[in-house]
Symmetry: C2
Subunit: 567 residues, 2 copies
């Protein structure tokens, strides 16, 4: 059984332990469970009592495709409830190969040094690297590569995480040194508050992954990988557009956040679309690339490198949420503008969704003009310079709006909405409101369910959200990418058996979902103890009152309907 | 029976109504009851669904001394729970004489005009006075006096209330045009959010106060007035020092907030003391004055005018809380500095306690130097100029600390602590934490109870806080000043009978406290529905960990002890 590494940042001591109770847990089921077991629900999120938990998935480091996502949990400084945020990159697989089931970062360094946790086949140690202090994510990774080699996996925070800004995220390097982000909930601020700048993992010489039945596992994993690789969604959509394929569809539904969620569609949709991204990457060439994997084994390959006119890299990865929140939501007209904002926000170590929402609010209050890239870059420069206005925006949409006096703040449970206006995609409104995660894009995203539930209707939205919370939550608990769900949901016995063959559990196609259900229940219990729910299960008032063009929809679900979403 | 004036700021309609259910309610018992009955607990505090309720006391406008305080209630934008804040000034008595039991301000003006509610013997109307827009409190009152006469009573908000800053208060004019403040909880922002700049009341030709038994009332009121006027606390303390008499005592206990609650005493105590204030007012002469009344009938006369070296008025009224929060808490060295800050903050329409806490946090984070009046004036200038940093500070200590990254934020339930460090006066820690009001100075202030409960001890603090919450809460419900409590608590039958003779109720010396108890229970119920309690009943973590010099006390009460304070 793999072990848990416990790092006390107050004493700078590290120890390793094994917990039999956690034997069959991984990903979100493990990170949320440890937070539930160890973190005082009413503690200060950026204080020494909070803990940052990094948990590997149940299939992490194996040959199963898209299964090495890393799950990071803590009490969130944005929602004041529990938060789980997961991402790709190579650290998850490498940590699993090093025999690490989870890392618990606790306490808080009392000195002003910049710490890096280094994990190799020889063990683990905290090193001081003060030259990384307040360095942007890209330079941080470059410095760490120079010291520890380019085959390491890195998790790190940018200057905003070090400065405790609630919009901060945790970056995760991929195999070519590009970054993925455990973006939501401000967990970068939690990591930064502890004095930990980065975690470096070198799996050279390690392969400590164990199997209940390796032969059956490999057979089933190969079968699943093959099914996934031939899924038309994967080959047709993700390889060509990554996650940006849906821009036109969301715009067509009237749910694309535009100018601080004032409109549901933009006239610039063509120039912001996935089709345009694909066209530009192919026509501009150079460093531009489509269909990259973010982790060692992944058939989905939704990562991209978006180049400028001269073929020089602008940003990786251009994603749907970035186009929605940094593009249309800020009134931007083209993908070059989105890429420019995206790169800077990545480098500062902020969540693009939260920061896009916060920038939208700031523009709405007159701190710049919608559609003006210079004004937005000036606001981002305020964040770099750590000015009061910069700290405001870096702390997310809710605090930005409260301080600047905005009465249109697009947040759920204190967290900025993802790229779907809840008035025109009501199921997502339910998820933003009722899920344990707040305004999230993965916690139960109802986009794509139009065939079964009318996105503008008032019926079945609660049930839809609940079902998706459980389904995607279960994938989170295993450490699987949600884009791998095609073959797994088509035959859930694959999902159950692949987990069983790896870890010795005894799930079947019906009981595998209990992983998600149990985790969501624990999370909700934590939130209630933390004082977050149910009085905080409420969307902003303007959504109930202000019709959203072009559908003129308002958010009009009954409380009864909303309550159906509780797991 | 007097009537309730309901002002809809959305439609600009006003109507008058009578509610038999409220017949025996007044002050806090009425304002909190109306908020409980009419305000959706989860509504946005600065949105159209919140209501601002202004309620007259049960003895308001009569000859009973110190009994015409006005009670203002709403859902607070600072605590997100119910807030009652009361103050002196002449508006309360005058509104009672005009037959007004309460005013309910609801809705939200959708235009950008500056409205004034005018109440006279001829009725009530909303007038537009755009020249008052963003005017400071002192100029606002002067403008209103010029239009409506100097014998009117005025309630108004400064520019910070109009701008929705959560530290904003409501000013109330006294008989010489000086200002008292319904200071706590950010209710100035609620009034400002509705588009209402001021309420002017002219009671000329009105005396609509009714009595159950006028003769008995007058006889008992005269007896009470006489007792109060000869109370040594009144003649010895309030006439000479106002509320500033306790500076040395709190400093001696080690509970005087000093440099953002980092220390419990200051070396500058003599120059910040009530004795010094008395000496300076007497020696400087000129416009300086002691022992002024803030309302028509008041034997306590705790108001003062503090003059500069040339005898020119600097501020009225210099109070203990201002000396604590704007003086020692900011490292100030003398009363002239306190007076200068106090005047500017009054004029901007902010609560001096909340703003003193916010400024302390800002200085602690390096946005100025403790003890440097120029630095503090520069921060206040940021508020005047409505800059992001100014909006931050004007929004109170919690948001200031959260944005600037401070882990020492002196707040309870989101509201800045009053001038007593809870580590060295633990009963106040209980009140800041457990009362419905948060970090308040009147909701159950345990200063002065040293004879019965050791302020540093861990015993009996919950019970002490509870008793004081009920006692002072009951005075709030009647509209009586807490400094009048000497003769009233010595013989509570006076308290009961004077209310009975006025309104026809049938309280006795034991049951009169039910007014407070019932109100506190309603308030707590509102808070729980609003999602505020009990997970939010927690003081900041640093108080439990950082010893406070000179006593080296930490806050160390058990949860069991704290829970005893719940009414």
């Amino acid at each position: 059984m793999s072990s848990i590494i416990r790092v006390n940042m107050t004493t700078h001591e590290i120890k390793s332990e094994i917990n039999k109770d956690y034997e069959f847990l991984g990903g979100r089921s493990l990170s949320s469970r440890i937070v539930y077991d160890e973190v005082e629900p009413t503690c200060e999120p950026l204080g020494r009592k909070n803990k940052l938990v990094i948990a590997m998935g149940l299939l992490s480091g194996t040959i199963a495709s898209s299964a090495s996502r890393i799950s990071i949990g803590a009490k969130s400084p944005l929602t004041n409830g529990i938060k789980e945020t997961n991402c790709g990159g190579v650290a998850g697989g490498k940590l699993s190969k090093c025999g690490v089931q989870a890392i618990i970062i606790e306490g808080k360094s009392e000195d002003d040094k910049c710490y890096v946790l280094v994990i190799t086949k020889d063990g683990y140690k905290l090193e001081v690297m003060n030259k990384l202090k307040y360095l942007g994510n890209y330079d941080t990774v470059e410095n760490l590569y120079n010291k520890y080699g380019r085959k390491t996996g890195i998790l790190c925070v940018g200057p905003t995480g070090e400065r405790g800004l609630r919009g901060a995220c945790i970056a995760s390097s991929d195999s070519i040194g590009e970054l993925k982000f455990a973006a939501r909930g401000g967990l970068g601020a939690v990591m930064g508050s502890k004095g930990l700048k980065a975690i470096v993992v070198d799996d050279k010489g390690c392969n400590l992954i164990t199997y209940k039945d390796k032969e059956k596992f490999i057979e089933l994993a190969k079968d699943y990988n093959k099914k996934l690789a031939s899924d038309p969604k994967v080959t047709g959509t993700y390889h060509n557009y990554g996650t940006t394929a849906i821009v036109k569809a969301v715009n067509g539904m009237g749910a694309l956040p535009t100018c601080n969620f004032r409109y549901g569609s933009t006239e610039h949709v063509s120039d912001l679309s996935g089709e345009k991204m694909n066209e530009l990457i192919l026509s501009r060439g150079g460093e531009g690339k489509l269909a990259l994997s973010c982790m060692e084994i992944c058939a989905i390959r939704c990562s991209t490198i978006y180049p400028d006119k001269d073929g020089k890299k602008l940003v990786s990865t251009m994603q749907y949420e970035n186009i929605a929140l940094l593009g249309s939501n800020l009134g931007m007209k083209n993908l070059d503008q989105v890429a420019q904002l995206n790169y800077e926000i990545n480098n500062l170590g902020l969540d693009t969704i939260e920061t896009g929402c916060a920038l939208g609010v700031a523009l709405d209050m007159g701190y710049g003009r919608f559609g003006c890239i210079e004004d937005c870059m000036a606001l981002i420069n305020e964040i770099s310079r750590n000015t009061p206005l910069g700290r405001l925006i870096g702390n997310g949409a809710l605090l930005t709006g409260q301080i600047l006096g905005c009465d249109r703040i697009p947040t759920g449970k204190g967290q900025g909405f993802a790229g779907y206006d809840p008035r025109a995609l009501k199921g997502n409104g339910v998820t933003y409101s009722m899920s344990t995660m707040g305004g999230d894009h993965t916690a139960g995203n109802c986009f794509g369910s139009r065939a079964t539930v009318d996105p503008l209707g008032t019926e079945s939205q609660g049930e839809l959200s609940r079902t998706l919370q459980i389904q995607i939550g279960t994938l989170d608990c295993i450490g699987l990418c949600m884009f791998a769900r095609g073959p797994l949901f088509a035959d859930a016995s694959i999902l159950a058996n692949i987990v069983n063959y790896r870890s010795g559990s005894s799930f079947d196609k019906d009981t595998i979902w209990e992983l998600g259900i149990e985790t969501l229940k624990l999370e909700r219990e934590f939130n209630i103890k933390a004082g977050v729910s149910p009085a905080h299960d409420k969307l902003p008032e303007y959504l109930y009152e202000e019709p959203l063009s072009p559908t003129n929809a308002v958010f009009d679900l009954t409380e009864e309907e909303m309550l159906k979403a509780i797991v």
